[in-house]
């Protein structure tokens, strides 16, 4: 076929499909483009009809995409490659991963250029994942927060647990069953705070859940972040700096059960406690409560045993004392008796000493007396005779005076006596034996008796 130029002669040309075929051939023939190992970042990974379709991209330092190529892992190779990758990394091939692929370029007349993947080297991806994790950990270490959550104090009996997990996920179900169905019948209070646990929304969603826990912090003893149900799934979301920092700096202890046996994310390194699976996390809580209970029982046991032993010991002491008392009393008495004996033997000695001292004393007094007595006696004799003299003088005088008085009185008595009066011529008249001094008392006819010095007469009153 030919085309006519404006000025006449046609240019030799091929059809598009011929051109495209030529491209295809050229690509197929180029050894560089066949069986080549290429590193690239994965984008838009999707599986359809057993084939895995993806975009290979390369970004520069600034994050701009500088190269792009469509790639396919045909079904015939995909199961092998997928298994190989999972075996090495525990992960599925997915968007965001950096991979080392082996394959060949091909050009299809209709679909254009693409890369047909023949093999994969998972160690590159592993290395990359490791590198990413290491970078996050380094950053947290530099900021001084890497060990922070491990310093939080897990209460001895954590029962109020904030559980961050996907609603309805098998992992969460296993955890709850194991926790609430525990053998010892410990009481727990787990509350689910739902979050997205896979894909690129993981970090933001889990951080929102953590914020909710902080807002209600007094209600919780700790946090559990759970995911996983056995199948290998996207754990990339957990190798995220922002999420890692949120967990590292979290004020309550965080327990994570988000991987499997082998797989470790950044969160596994920085959480307070890391368990392999959600079931293992439940086991951790049950074990913790059991240990707390054993501790309390051990302490109370000690208190009871100590009290019993102490009381038994005191009872023994008391019994010992009781036994010892008679012997002690006896010993005491014997001692007192001995003392008494000793004193007794001393008494005669002391007494005779005292007596002889007293005798000596008496002798001394006697001698003294003998010496002093004569003098005293003569002094006394002198006094005595003096007193005698004074007495006889005084007595004489008194006697003489009394005699004089008596004489005087006698004289008066004799003068005044009735006899003397009668002698002088007086007479005494008596009536009925009594002397009359008043004539008026007499009445005519009365008998009166009159006494003269010599004799008396009886008369009758006229």
């Amino acid at each position: 076929m030919s085309a006519h130029s404006f000025f006449g002669q046609p240019q030799p040309a091929m059809t598009l499909s011929q051109f495209a075929t030529a491209i295809g051939n050229a690509v197929r023939m180029s050894p560089v483009l066949q069986g080549a190992w290429v590193v690239a970042e994965l984008s838009d990974v999707r599986v359809s009809g057993g084939h895995c379709y993806m975009e290979l991209i390369e970004k520069n330092q600034a994050g701009q995409t500088v190269a792009k190529l469509r790639a396919t892992i045909w079904q015939s190779r995909f199961s092998y490659i997928r298994q190989k990758f999972i075996a090495a990394t525990g992960r599925e091939i997915m968007t965001g991963m950096k991979v080392l692929l082996n394959g060949s370029a091909s050009h299809h007349t209709l679909y254009g250029l693409s890369f047909s993947v023949n093999d994969i080297d998972p160690s590159y991806t592993l290395g990359d994942m490791e590198r990413l994790r290491r970078e996050i950990l380094m950053r947290l270490h530099k900021e001084g927060v890497i060990g922070l959550n491990k310093t939080r104090v897990m209460p001895p009996a954590p029962q109020r647990i904030a559980v961050i997990s996907a609603e309805g996920a098998a992992g969460y179900g296993d955890f709850i069953n194991h926790l609430l169905g525990n053998q010892e019948e410990f009481a727990f209070y787990p509350v689910l705070i739902p979050a997205v646990m896979q894909g690129e929304k993981t970090s933001a969603s889990v951080r929102d859940a953590l914020d909710f826990v902080i807002r209600t912090i007094d209600m919780w003893d700790c946090v559990a972040i759970l995911r996983g149900g056995g199948a290998t799934t996207d754990l990339n979301g957990f190798d995220d700096y922002d999420l890692a920092r949120a967990v590292a700096t979290f004020p309550l202890p965080v327990v994570v059960g988000i991987g499997h046996e082998r797989d470790r994310t950044v969160l596994d390194e920085i959480a307070h406690t890391r368990m392999k699976t959600p079931t293992a996390v439940a086991g951790f809580f049950v074990d913790t409560l059991r240990a707390a209970y054993d501790k309390v029982r051990g302490l109370v046991d000690y208190v009871a045993r100590y009290s019993t032993d102490r009381l038994a010991g005191e009872a023994r002491r008391l019994a010992n004392c009781e036994g010892m008392i008679p012997a002690l009393a006896e010993a005491r008495l014997a001692g007192a008796r001995a003392l008494l004996e000793r004193e007794l033997t001393r008494i005669p000695v002391l007494v005779s000493a005292r007596i002889s001292r007293n005798i000596t004393s008496l002798d001394n007094y006697a001698s003294l007396l003998k010496a002093l007595a004569p003098r005293q006696c003569s002094r006394n004799a002198e006094r005595l005779s003096e007193l005698q003299n004074r007495f006889s003088v005084a007595a004489d005088g008194a006697l003489k005076r009394n005699a004089a008085r008596v004489d005087a009185l006698a004289g008066m008595v004799s003068v005044l006596s009735p006899d003397n009066t009668l002698r002088r011529g007086y007479s005494i008249t008596r009536v009925d034996g009594k002397a009359v001094t008043d004539a008026s008392i007499l009445s005519p006819g009365q008998r009166i008796v009159t006494c003269f010095r010599h004799g008396d007469i009886t008369s009758v009153v006229e």
Binding site: A157, V191, L192, Y293, V303, A304, R310
Partner: protein, 65 residues
């Protein structure tokens, strides 16, 4: 016991009692008091570990709304 005793402080108090007993300064008269308190604390801990506290449960459930 009506105080807001926590499990941790119950353990701490028990450890204190044990320390007093081990210090040899413990006189017989205190023993009865210590033993009684230890039993009280044990009862408290058992209750905390094994009995569901309805108030706590209700409080946490209300969070879900």
């Amino acid at each position: 016991m009506s105080e807001q005793l926590s499990y941790a402080s119950a353990i701490a108090e028990l450890e204190q009692i044990v320390a007093k007993m081990q210090s040899d300064n413990c006189d017989i008269d205190s023993l009865s008091g210590y033993t009684t308190r230890a039993m009280e604390l044990l009862k408290y801990c058992k209750q905390k570990l094994f009995t569901t506290d309805e108030e706590v449960k209700k409080c946490l459930e209300s969070l879900n709304s």
